[in-house]
Amino acid sequence: MTQAEFMNEIAFILDEDPNRLSGGRALDSISGFDSAGMLGLIAFFDGQLGVKINADALRAARTVDDLKAMAADKIE
């Protein structure tokens, strides 16, 4: 998956305008980063990237870049 595709997926899951989503964007500033959004992220990481993440790790994430870091080598 490319970086652009990853960001578009994150924007879709968190119901955010992709043009407003940068790596440094604080997750707690995104209204879609709630319980439902976290479910979507867990499903995305598992289903599309093959990465198992837990909710505690998601809650510890502060920025979109932190989500990217969880995807590790799955993003080109």
Partner: protein, 335 residues
Amino acid sequence: MPVYPRITGVSYALPEGIVENAQIAPLSKWTAEDILRKTGIARRHIAAPKETAADLAVAAARRLLASIKDPQSIDLIAFCTQTPDYALPTSACLIQDRLGLSTSCAAFDFNLGCSGYVYGLSIVQSMLRSGDAHRALLLTGETYSKWFDVSDVSVATIFGDAGTATMLECVEADEPPIGPFSLGTDGRGASRLIVGGSGARLIEGDPLLANRPDGSCPPDRLYMDGPEVFAFTTRVVPMAVSAYLERNGLSWDSFDHVVFHQANRFMLDHLRKQCRIPAEKFVLCLEPFGNTVCNTIPVALVEMQAAGRLRAGNRLLLIGFGVGYSWGICALRWC
């Protein structure tokens, strides 16, 4: 020819009270349609204030007993519930009396949630195969609604109440219609779905109730860390299912129907994809009921029967998973 336990009847009972999505939506940031789309649930039946899980199980049992001969020959009641009438005495003892069954009947409760029906099949069929019992009622009943208000949308959108009854008897067969089983537990997940003050362990500073990421929850209320419960499901269930199939030399071709615990639509869709289950074999049955915990699988069996979807000889895989964490898998041939 050997004899093995098989299911000879299943029924369910629901409370009359219903909570629709439209009643919950104003208390959340979602519309009624959002709730249906995200959870797959349109409504859930909620027990009346004086109605208990045992009441629902008794109602379901009476439906079964109305159509069977010689109910006095029933010699085992196993009741799965996490909302018993009392901590003591055992609700199954009260149920024995309410159903007018023989005092030669064994009766006990067991405390499990979403995995409870599969565990129950394991326990009951073992007792039948051993000869300790000959004709059994596996009952399930749950009223999680006693532990939340409709204003707690994180759980009120999901859970509903119900009771079921399954009759099991030994019949001559070439091979066991029920089994094999795979059962599992991970108690590290205990704090993620809990009613902290529901038992004897109500202590100041209970570490199991501390450090909740989304704030505190009164000890008499149901707490669920939905995202982490989902994460557990993705970590454990597909692997457990895959291991079960491999260990028993099975594949999805071995089954006509796959019935997961009906947790919520989002989770079920994800599991179906992760386990690569053909869509036509995957059973979805939660829109009118919600997540009724240990009742979801037997309710689905009844609904499948009513829809003409279940035929004698059909092979099913049942997968229960959830609170505990606990999970159970078993194969079932419908007779």
